[in-house]
């Protein structure tokens, strides 16, 4: 079971003192946050991609490579990579490059992006979002698994004998998750490829995601990648903690009330009841997240959103200390208890190389028997 953090890279005014960090402040803060994540024993750091203010992260591989150079165990991922508006050829190249530099500590999460104007800015149409996600990923998948690709599609110029470079590290592509809030098409796509499915989980009630993940698991089995229980599931989450529950509520409330997306909407109390957001003591966070497997089945990756809505860097680093030292160690034990043996861990570069090698051996043996 992997634990980590994900960020949307927003530059937001701190509502308690009305100060706004500069882009440079936030970019440097993200690096500090990622390094802190490794220091406190978290497994994953995932960075969003946006092409409009107030977000800074337009160039995630640059940022992740810089972080890779200053960390040694942290898995670097995305939340999400825009499979709709990016050229799949450039994604293949950029992330293979990152995979080499980071010695395989890279995977990525595909998302469509829901900001309407970004599509036309990149020559696309949001109404084609699903079709773009499906076709672009089909090409990306081939670019990483086949050395030379002839390809023709609807959304980019055709390719003849094209080889994307560098080739993936050890000939094994980075693992891919597909993120979706509501589209069964994306769950179907993840299942078809045997890829991971990540449910953002933080903006909608859990019942919605339980149905979506249930569907993905069932289709994963249908496509012959293993049993439904062996499907690779990731979940988002959100927490704010202080030793005393009421201190956490008092401190977080102004950030919640003014947050992008849900600010000025539901009350903190309603939102914590309806979604996984937990504001309280570390024990309350443990209780809430230890219960997730009851709803979603045993899963592979839990990411927390910890740094948005204008929270100052100092506070975020304190939160990561609490998360890494008090919450995650207990959750690791809880999740390991009674975890069925058939449930796999989240794929890593090492496990994917081993799996590929095992498949090659089986193939060779079969060929030998046949000859």
């Amino acid at each position: 079971m992997q634990f980590g953090i994900f960020t949307v890279s927003d530059v937001t005014t701190d509502p308690t003192d009305n100060t706004t960090p500069s882009e440079n402040d936030r970019i440097k803060a993200i690096v500090a946050i990622a390094k802190k994540a490794e220091e406190v024993g978290l497994d994953v750091f995932a960075l969003g991609e946006h092409h409009n203010p107030p977000f800074f992260s337009s160039s995630p591989t640059t940022t992740l490579a810089y972080i890779a150079a200053q960390t040694s165990t942290l898995m670097l991922s995305t939340s999400t990579t825009l499979i709709t508006t990016n050229d799949p050829v450039k994604i293949a190249e950029d992330y293979a490059m990152l995979q080499h530099l980071a010695d395989g500590r890279v995977d990525l999460m595909m998302g469509r992006g829901n900001t309407g104007p970004v599509y036309p800015w990149f020559g696309k149409d949001i109404r084609d979002g699903i079709e773009l996600a499906v076709e672009n990923y089909a090409l990306l998948h081939r670019l990483w698994t086949e050395d030379f690709v002839d390809w023709q599609g609807k959304y980019r110029t055709p390719l003849q004998g094209f080889q994307s470079t560098p080739r993936p590290l050890d000939g094994v592509a980075p693992f891919v998750w597909h993120g979706s809030i509501r589209s069964p098409e994306i769950a179907e796509q993840a299942a078809y490829y045997g890829d991971g499915f990540f449910a953002n989980n933080i903006f909608w009630p859990k019942e919605h995601y339980m149905r979506l993940i249930g569907y993905y698991r069932q289709r994963f089995e249908h496509y012959g990648h293993g049993t439904a229980a062996q499907a690779i599931v990731g979940l988002g989450g959100q927490a704010f903690m202080r030793t005393k529950s009421q201190d956490a509520v008092n401190e977080f409330r102004p950030y919640f009330n003014n947050a992008p997306v849900y600010g000025h909407g539901p009350s903190l109390e309603d939102f914590t009841e309806q979604t996984p957001l937990t504001v309280g003591s570390p024990q309350e966070v443990i209780d809430k997240y230890a219960g997730m497997r009851e709803h979603f089945g045993d899963y592979q990756r839990q990411l927390f959103l910890m740094d948005h809505a204008g929270l100052p860097l100092k506070t975020v680093l304190e939160q990561l200390d609490i998360l890494g030292e008090e919450v995650v160690p207990v959750l690791r034990k809880e999740f390991a208890t009674n975890r069925p043996a058939e449930v796999p861990d989240a794929p890593t570069h090492a496990s994917l190389v081993a799996k590929r090698d095992a498949a090659l051996v089986t193939e060779a043996e079969t060929a030998e028997v046949a000859s």
Partner: protein
């Protein structure tokens, strides 16, 4: 005996409201028309006032609260709908439109609907036809020809309000009688026809 489900949406802001009064009369007339044909009738009434904050929160967050979700479900899975709004500033009320805005755009496709509206003056009666009807046409709902407008004055004199209610109700009952909407099994994960996880044209 076969059952037909009638949903009622009333966007009146006060309690009690003349909008609810009109909605109830349209519902009762529709139920009576169906019962006369031998149907059992279940009427579910949603006063938007009761979910006004949930509707606003849904607009802001993108998801319905459990309370609103179940209210929406009871509306969209009915055999026929009666939609009644006060007319504010020449059109349906903002709350009414906000509620329609949080519905899935496909949720009312094929839904038989009778339209009703209330207002202070009879001069707004055409608002049903120039604001409400195009809204539901866009959503591919099937609106019955008779819209029922009740001005304040209609509640105190014989202006044919009862006749208009009866006519709209009988038009709606005819459509509800042949509706199977409430019996349908809905698959939220139904993929669009022809969907392929590797894409269509040339992408194999």
């Amino acid at each position: 005996m076969t059952t037909r489900k009638i949903a009622v949406v009333a966007a009146g802001l006060s309690q009690p409201s003349s909008t609810r009064l009109l909605a109830d009369r349209m519902a009762a007339a529709t139920a009576a028309a169906l019962e006369a044909q031998g149907f059992e009738v279940e009427v579910t009434t949603l006063e938007l006032r009761d979910v006004a904050q949930d509707v606003t929160n849904n607009l802001l967050t993108g998801y319905p609260s459990p309370k609103l979700e179940s209210a929406i479900e009871s509306i969209t899975t009915a055999d026929a709908l009666i939609a009644v709004t006060p007319i504010f500033t020449t059109s349906y009320s903002g709350l009414f439109k906000s509620f329609i805005d949080v519905l899935d755009p496909q949720a009312l496709t094929g839904m038989p609907i009778a339209l009703g509206a209330t207002g202070g003056t009879e001069r707004h009666s055409l608002a049903i036809d120039y604001s409400m009807r195009p809204l539901f046409t866009y959503l591919h709902a099937v609106t019955v020809p008779t819209g029922v407008y009740a001005a304040s004055s209609d509640w105190g004199s014989e202006t044919g309000l009862g006749d208009r209610i009866e006519r709209a109700a009988s038009e709606l009952a005819a459509l509800a009688a042949v509706s199977d909407r409430s019996q349908r099994v809905r698959d939220p994960f139904a993929l669009p026809e022809g969907f392929s996880p590797v894409g269509g044209f040339g992408a194999q």
